[in-house]
């Protein structure tokens, strides 16, 4: 339970349960799933059999047929095409969140560890502060000010995820800084900046990367939740969370696929990111030992 200061990435209570599956063949399967997801998102216009926003009210809630492999939703839109296009916003949002929070967190963490003293105190306390405020509430507040869409949730989640990376980086950067090789470079007259960028960062990068893979899964889940609440990408654009929201009414009429198909996509993506992140973190922890 007290692994917060070790070189192992900070694990938010949640996907930690996937840790057990991080070693075996499931790791490879998960990497393949993620690669497939990225390909699907990139090639969406080519792969999707229909226009994801094309209405066909005569084909409302058509079941699985040869024409529509996963059936249609209430407005007669092809569910498979919407899932394929939904992978784009589904991955783009978390990608932005992870990119911003990783950059910002690494910067803050390294500066805090390298400078020490009051800079460390100020940065660490600020990160603790942001850490204490739930990201979901921050996002809801921001949406209420600037309106729904991808922007407000992504900004709020980036802010909320920065301390996860920042605390981790601060911890491992402090350990690295204490190692003799850093001192050796300093004695040779390299500037602090050069030593950080050329030598310290490459050494902590794998651990940060493992944390980012895990954060990707969490961010995907959080952004999908916001989308489900109606605060993300607005209909008719295809988005997994929004599709579940729209599919709720169909569920009450006995049609499961409009809501269950995007649900399955979200769970699959989250599980795959969790397994890959946990697997990487364990590999790094083993190598360190």
């Amino acid at each position: 339970m007290t692994t917060t200061t070790s070189a192992v990435p900070y694990r938010r209570p949640g996907l930690r349960a996937l840790r057990l599956f991080g070693q075996g063949p499931l790791f490879t399967v998960s990497v393949a799933v993620l690669a497939a997801l990225v390909l699907v998102a990139l090639l969406a216009p080519v792969l999707a059999p229909y226009d994801p926003e094309a209405l066909d009210l005569s084909a409302s809630l058509a079941g699985t047929t040869g024409d529509h492999l996963l059936g249609t939703d209430q407005s007669g839109r092809d569910i498979l095409s919407r899932l394929i296009h939904g992978a784009r916003t589904g991955l783009l949002g978390p990608l932005l969140v992870v990119a911003v929070s990783t950059l910002l967190g690494t910067l803050l963490g390294v500066v805090a560890a390298w400078r020490g003293g009051w800079a460390d105190t100020v940065l660490s306390r600020s990160m603790d502060l942001v850490f204490a405020i739930p990201g979901l509430l921050l996002a809801i507040l921001l949406v209420s000010v600037v309106g729904s869409g991808l922007t407000a949730p992504v900004i709020a989640m980036s802010v909320a995820y920065t301390p996860y990376v920042g605390r981790l980086v601060r911890g491992i950067a402090r350990q690295e800084k204490a190692r003799p090789y850093i001192e050796a470079y300093r004695v040779q007259g390299w500037s602090g900046w050069t030593v950080c960028v050329r030598h310290l960062l490459p050494n902590i990068a794998p651990t940060v990367f493992a944390q980012s893979a895990m954060n990707f899964g969490y961010a995907l889940m959080d952004l999908a939740a916001l989308s489900f609440l109606g605060f993300g990408v607005q209909p008719p654009a295809a988005d997994w969370g929004a599709m579940i929201n729209e599919g709720q009414a169909a569920v009450l009429q006995g049609a499961m696929l409009p809501a269950l198909a995007p649900s399955a996509c979200i769970v699959l993506a989250v599980v795959a990111f969790g397994i890959v992140g946990e697997g990487l973190a364990d590999r790094i922890a083993k190598r360190e030992r």
Binding site: M1, T2, T4, T5, P13, G14, L15, R16, A17, L18, L20, F21, R125, D128, L129, A132, I133, P134, L136, L137, L138, I140, L141, L142, V143, S144, V145, V146, G217, M221, A224, A225, F228, L229, G230, F231, G241, I244, G247, Q248, V251, L252, G254, M256, A259, L260, S263, I266, V267, V270, V271, G274
Partner: protein
């Protein structure tokens, strides 16, 4: 010890102060004039605009505005809801029971399901253990709104055991609890999965300890060893993690309440964002953060009472 306590309370004060600044400042963050943001396209007479300016003290300097707003908040005055034409504090009071019942119900489920599954998995290695591991793995990776959809389609549409979303509110408590069963399960499941994992590993840690071996060798009966020597010692991390989950439940409840149309604070928050009813959004955000931080603090302070081996300030980074 005193230093630790003072530090924690200062931290709490800092979080609340910054949150209040963010919540207050967000009106001014909005593009355009605060009045047009607060009205949000609703038609208003010049008198109404003047009333709004007076209510939000918009003609005062920013610092004075903040202090007046904060003074109101501290005395329970969160302004008026534009959507319901009612005082926000009264509105929140009327929705509080829904959320309290749901979160309480879910917390009981988390504790019962999580601890039972964890204890069983630790005591019965093999098939049962594997099943619990896979089940909890899936449960933690499934967002609550996905669980909600699955539960509705199975238990209210197919089997008809529980009412689906939007069936009105039952009068008596037992009817209310029956209605809240599916929402509570949807809210509890991923948290229960994690608590089961924590319970399992804490139990396994204790089972391998010397004192358990000694108790067994002394001839203490098996169930008594588990109860008095294993479970009791494993309770520390279980209670700490379980306590912080209560804070998590308070936040996730808005998603589940929306999915099931439960009249509570969370669904009110979501509706108010959609309806641009900003006073309500401000009030619920502020109260939720306060509740979240307070619960976490209380858990950290109570943990050493449950497990005296933990001392205050240890492991709370």
């Amino acid at each position: 010890m005193t230093r630790y306590l003072v530090g924690r309370f200062l931290g709490l004060a800092a979080v609340l102060f910054v949150t209040s600044l963010v919540v207050f400042g967000s009106v001014h963050l909005a593009p355009g004039d605060p009045v047009s943001f607060l009205l949000h396209g609703r038609p208003a007479t010049p008198e109404a605009v003047a009333a709004l300016r007076a209510e939000h003290h918009l003609d005062d300097p920013l610092a004075t505005q903040y202090l007046k707003w904060l003074g109101g908040v501290l005395s329970g005055d969160f302004g008026r809801s534009a959507q319901y034409h009612q005082d926000v504090s009264a509105l929140i009071g009327s929705r509080l029971t829904g959320t309290a019942l749901l979160v309480g119900y879910a917390a009981v489920l988390v504790a019962v399901l999580g601890v039972t599954a964890g204890v069983l998995a630790a005591l019965r290695p093999g098939l049962l253990d594997r099943m619990v591991l896979v089940g909890t793995g899936v449960a933690t990776a499934t967002p609550s709104f996905v669980t909600a959809i699955a539960l509705v389609s199975l238990f209210s549409v197919q089997l008809g055991w529980f009412p689906g979303p939007g069936g009105g509110t039952a009068e008596d408590l037992s009817g209310r609890l029956h209605q809240l069963t599916l929402p509570a399960v949807a809210l509890a499941l991923s948290f229960a999965g994690l608590l089961a994992r924590v319970t399992r590993s804490a139990m396994l840690d204790e089972l391998g300890r010397d004192h358990v071996e000694v108790a067994r060798a002394r001839g203490v009966a098996g169930p008594a060893v588990v109860r008095r020597h294993v479970l009791r010692n494993a309770l520390g991390p279980v209670v700490t993690v379980g306590g912080t989950m209560l804070a998590g439940l308070l936040i996730s409840t808005s998603i589940v309440e929306t999915a099931f149309d439960v009249p509570g604070l969370g669904s009110l928050l979501v509706q108010s964002v959609t309806a641009k009813d900003f006073a309500v959004v401000q009030a619920i955000t502020l109260l939720s953060v306060a509740a979240f931080v307070l619960v976490n603090l209380v858990v950290d302070l109570l943990a050493p009472l449950i497990d005296p081996r933990l001392s205050l300030g240890e492991g709370s980074s």
